[in-house]
């Protein structure tokens, strides 16, 4: 899932300066799981904005809403009346959702309330970590299901480097050396020989270095 983190309140405050009718719009999918953009966070942020405006003696009208997915146009139509009635939409979706809103409602100012951080998973309640870099050419079959692109600090394909110390990365003792994890896992799976094959130079053109990516499935298009 996409993991996000709410922007600092001061930054949000600055963005919404001058607007008096706000739609705070959450997304109930990925960012709700990372407690950054679901209905709960919409209510909290709206409450904070109202209190802040009250103390500043400024009027504000806030509509709170969250839709199932902001990254799909079909879900965006359900809030068209709310969007029409507001001055600005403060979106608590990931960057995809914010852009989808901006595309669907070209005449409306859409502001991002989150920083989209990474693709990852929930390790435990309140802890999320990166797992995929979306490189466009998955190598997990050769690395025991552990991604060296996303989880090695250097993104090495033929690791580990000399900075692997007691299973930890040289950047921090809190960061696992993913190459140590890969070796341990392949050893447990009795597939260590997979590492004898040297990874060739990776084709980064499919990872976004070749420009904005797009997938077209002719069999599915209209």
């Amino acid at each position: 899932m996409i993991v996000g983190q709410q922007k600092d309140f001061d930054e949000i405050k600055k963005m919404i300066t001058g607007y008096s009718r706000l739609l705070v719009l959450g997304c109930q999918t990925c960012v709700a799981v990372s407690f950054a953009g679901g209905m709960r966070e919409v209510e909290i942020l709206a409450s904070m904005i109202r209190m802040d405006r009250k103390m500043a003696g400024q009027d504000v009208e806030i509509v709170e809403e969250a839709i199932l997915r902001q990254c799909d146009f079909e879900f965006l139509d359900s809030v068209k009346d709310l969007v029409a009635d507001c001055d600005v939409v403060l979106s608590l979706a990931c960057g995809v959702g914010v852009q989808a809103m901006a595309e669907r409602y070209p005449d409306k100012v859409i502001l991002p309330g989150l920083n989209t951080t990474f693709m990852g998973l929930t390790e435990e309640m309140g802890v999320w970590s990166e797992r995929c870099a979306g490189c466009g050419d998955c190598v997990l079959d050769r690395t025991g299901g552990l991604c060296p692109i996303a989880r090695c600090s250097k993104g090495l394909l033929n690791g580990p480097c000399g900075g692997s110390i007691n299973g930890k990365c040289e950047i921090s003792p809190d960061v696992d050396c993913v190459w140590q994890l890969i070796i341990d896992r392949l050893k447990a799976l009795n597939q260590l020989e997979k590492l004898e094959e040297i990874f060739p130079i990776k084709d980064w053109s499919v990872s976004g270095h070749g420009g904005t990516r797009k997938i077209v499935r002719e069999d599915l298009t209209a």
């Binding site: 909290i44 409450s47 009250k54 103390m55």
Partner: protein, 142 residues
């Protein structure tokens, strides 16, 4: 002006120990300030950030959470979660320039009626000293 100010304080009390200590205080005819309005909750860990903010937004001058003693939570870790959440909300209040002392959390057992009254008095006095919450409030809404 501040001398005459009577704060409104919302006390979220866990239905297990703290609510019992409040009931016990009432049965024993002990007195605690009428500024305290108790809201019973199934576990203090069930009190979310939004509940605290809404209380303050809608006119409370202070909020306190009363949970069971550490290690005595009916749901194992609710009181620890609540303590962390209070710290988080204090940070949010800091962003709004609202005094963090308006929010506090305590742990007490079902038998501590006297302590409940003492804490209620302390909270009331702290918030009374701080004065009304710096929002345009209408206490009649609560």
């Amino acid at each position: 002006m501040k001398g005459k100010f009577e704060p409104l304080i919302i006390a979220f009390c866990c239905n297990y120990c703290p609510s019992c200590s409040a009931d016990l205080a009432e049965s024993a005819k002990l007195q605690y300030p009428p500024n305290i309005r108790i809201i019973k909750v199934p576990c203090i860990g069930a009190v979310g950030t939004i509940h605290i903010l809404k209380a303050l937004e809608n006119g409370a001058d202070g909020v306190c959470l009363m949970g069971c003693l550490e290690g005595n939570c009916e749901y194992s870790t609710g009181n620890f979660r609540a303590r962390k959440r209070v710290q988080y909300v204090k940070k949010l209040l800091g962003k709004l320039s609202i005094e963090k002392e308006r929010l506090e959390i305590y742990n007490l057992s079902a038998a501590e009626a006297h302590r409940f009254c003492k804490l209620a008095g302390e909270v009331t006095e702290t918030v009374r000293t701080l004065g009304p919450i710096p929002l345009k409030i209408d206490n009649s809404k609560i």
